[in-house]
């Protein structure tokens, strides 16, 4: 018998076998096709999302152009729509949320990853992850009836008394406002920061820790000087993810922020966020331009969260690569 590569053609087998074979192969093809169609549906949906937001905001985009972002009046009556108060409110509340949540959150993550015994860490992490599952309205409920009165009667007067020279803590005290929203957001994003930072910290290779301890470092020093720097990018990633969450948060914010489109340096002042104004005014929007402006706000929010999420993912990925190079 002569040698020949497998590509040599041979006479096909009996007819019945061929049909049977084709039918079997078709099963595979069908499965491939069906799943492909559904996977494409996902792609289609995301494209459609962009398209719908873009298309339905064109009235507002054409009317205002880039002005939209630095005009600070939001006047439905005279049809003057500027996004600045909402962008301001969103950014301030999110920044405040991070300011309050990050130190405690990273601290807790450090405790859970480095200092606590495994069992304790597992149980506490479980509880904290459950917090992330609490619906936004429930947080809002607690915000309105617990947080706001607390701020109004205890916290804000205290801040005003001792730190009133700062522009942040001046002006009338309502309870609702930027401070309330920021504080509530902080509570809502803390579980994310803790959960992701903890995982990032746990992923730091044991060799690094051992090297530090072998040189006589205390556990805290090992954590601060070796583990944390190693995990730095991942922790920043978790912060950005928390930021993305805070930016898009609607219900809890709208229940405590005061829903007033104004820009005020004081944290005591009521404000408004992009998500909150869409939620509140969408069904009341009387004109096409009004709705278009709200939809444009939605588009902006969407793009912003995409950007922040992308940065977050890059950072979290980068921690992994750090190890390969090191």
């Amino acid at each position: 018998m002569s040698t020949h590569p497998i590509t040599q053609k041979r006479a096909p087998g009996p007819g019945r076998a061929r049909v049977f074979l084709r039918r079997l192969r078709e099963g595979d093809q069908v499965a491939h096709l069906v799943t492909f169609i559904f996977a494409s549906a996902i792609l289609l949906l995301s494209v459609l999302l962009f398209y719908e937001l873009y298309r339905n905001s064109h009235l507002s985009r054409e009317r205002y152009g880039w002005q939209f972002f630095y005009m600070s009046t939001w006047d439905p009556v005279f049809e003057n729509f500027g996004a600045l108060p909402f962008v301001y409110g969103t950014l301030v509340t999110s920044a405040l949320a991070l300011l309050l949540a990050v130190p405690g959150g990273v601290g807790a993550a450090i405790f859970l990853a480095e200092l606590a015994p495994r069992r304790v860490s597992d149980v506490m992490t479980f509880l904290i992850e459950l917090l992330a599952a609490v619906p936004s309205v429930v947080y809002g409920l607690l915000g309105i009836f617990i947080l706001v009165p607390l701020l109004r009667t205890q916290v804000q007067p205290l801040l005003k008394e001792h730190l009133g020279f700062l522009p942040f803590f001046q002006g009338p005290i309502y309870g609702v406002g930027l401070l309330a929203a920021g504080a509530l957001l902080a509570i809502m994003v803390v579980p994310f920061i803790i959960s992701i930072s903890r995982e990032v910290l746990l992923a730091v290779p044991q060799r690094q820790r051992e090297a530090a301890l072998a040189l006589g470092a205390t556990r805290w020093e090992m954590t601060m000087k070796v583990v944390l720097p190693y995990a730095k990018k991942g922790i920043f990633g978790s912060i950005f993810l928390a930021l993305a969450r805070a930016l898009g948060e609607t219900m809890a914010v709208t229940m405590v922020i005061g829903n007033t489109p104004q820009i005020n340096a004081s944290l005591f002042a009521p404000g408004y966020s992009v998500a909150a104004v869409i939620a509140n005014e969408f069904t009341e929007a009387t004109s096409d331009l009004y709705i278009s402006a709200l939809i444009e706000l939605g588009l902006v929010l969407f793009l912003l969260t995409i950007l922040v999420n992308a940065v977050a993912r890059l950072l979290i990925l980068a921690t992994g690569q750090g190890e390969a190079r090191a």
């Binding site: 040698t3 590509t7 087998g13």
Partner: protein, 278 residues
């Protein structure tokens, strides 16, 4: 029937109880490879191997680890097709048909040529469902009764029936390692293949289970052609009729087991079986 004979294997420096009274005569070759070449990307794993596997006899493939024996085995039922970046050249024939010919029914091939893997891999299903799987998938039983019959037959052939007949509904993963492997054999036998490929079937098992499986192979030989890859030379000597010795992907020697282990023709074979390497 079960006459054992203590035969001297001076090169292996031991006596081995061998089952056969006489050396088995080679009948027709049911499975043939000719100048088989297998590549993983750039690396050549099997080089120019021409072998004949005789009907209803046991052929062992031995060699040091990494010599390509598993790869060779996997070409015989085209399981290498599932590994990315492999290319196969040369000829592999089952009953005269080129199994790598375009249009050749791979599914049917795998029914005719069954495989038992090194690590027992029963499905996380009941014992019954494991054995019935091949039958159901290929539509081989026309009724519930027939299915049950064939499952029982397969389990008996694998010498497992008595141990599991009262717990066919239990999850297969609850069985011991040796039992799981025999279950995998039963599962492969259920579809009534002509050839059974065994890739180091006992290497993950304890000596008692290993002995049971070797016992089993003598029974199976009556009905099936068996090709077994093993790194255990004593096992090859005990069990097989013909042995092929592979080194670095190249077929060094292929002969009747009794010949190869007593008077090997190639010095490399002698070096391997006397333990000088591998």
């Amino acid at each position: 029937m079960n006459v054992t004979e203590a035969r001297e294997f001076p090169l292996l420096k031991m006596q081995i109880q061998v089952r056969e009274e006489k050396p088995a005569a080679a009948g027709e070759a049911t499975l043939v490879t000719e100048r088989l070449v297998v590549r993983y990307g750039q690396r050549v794993a099997v080089q120019d191997v021409s072998l004949q596997f005789y009907r209803k006899l046991i052929t062992a493939i031995i060699g040091p680890s990494g010599c390509g024996k598993s790869t060779l085995l996997r070409t015989l039922n085209r399981m290498n097709d599932t590994v990315a970046n492999t290319s196969t050249g040369g000829l592999v024939q089952l009953d005269g048909e080129d199994i790598y010919a375009p249009g050749y029914d791979v599914i049917r091939l795998r029914r005719r040529v069954g495989m038992v893997f090194q690590q027992p891999n029963p499905f996380p299903k009941s014992i019954y469902d494991n054995v019935a799987f091949g039958l159901r998938i290929n539509g081989l039983a026309r009724s519930r009764a027939e299915l049950q019959e064939r499952v029982e037959k397969a389990l008996r052939a694998a010498a497992l029936w008595d141990e599991v007949k009262d717990r066919l509904d239990r999850n297969a993963l609850q069985l011991s390692g040796g039992e799981q492997q025999r279950l995998c054999i039963a599962r492969a036998l259920a579809v009534q293949p002509e050839v059974l490929l065994m890739d180091e079937p006992a290497s993950a098992l304890d000596p008692v289970s290993t002995a049971k499986i070797e016992e089993l192979m003598f029974e199976l030989k009556k009905h099936y052609t068996i090709v077994i890859v093993t790194h255990n030379m004593q096992q090859a000597a005990r069990v097989s009729d013909y042995t092929a010795f592979l080194l670095n992907g190249v077929l060094v020697e292929f002969d009747a087991t009794s010949q190869l282990f007593t008077t090997p023709s190639d010095s490399r074979t002698e070096a391997y079986i006397t333990g000088r390497f591998g």
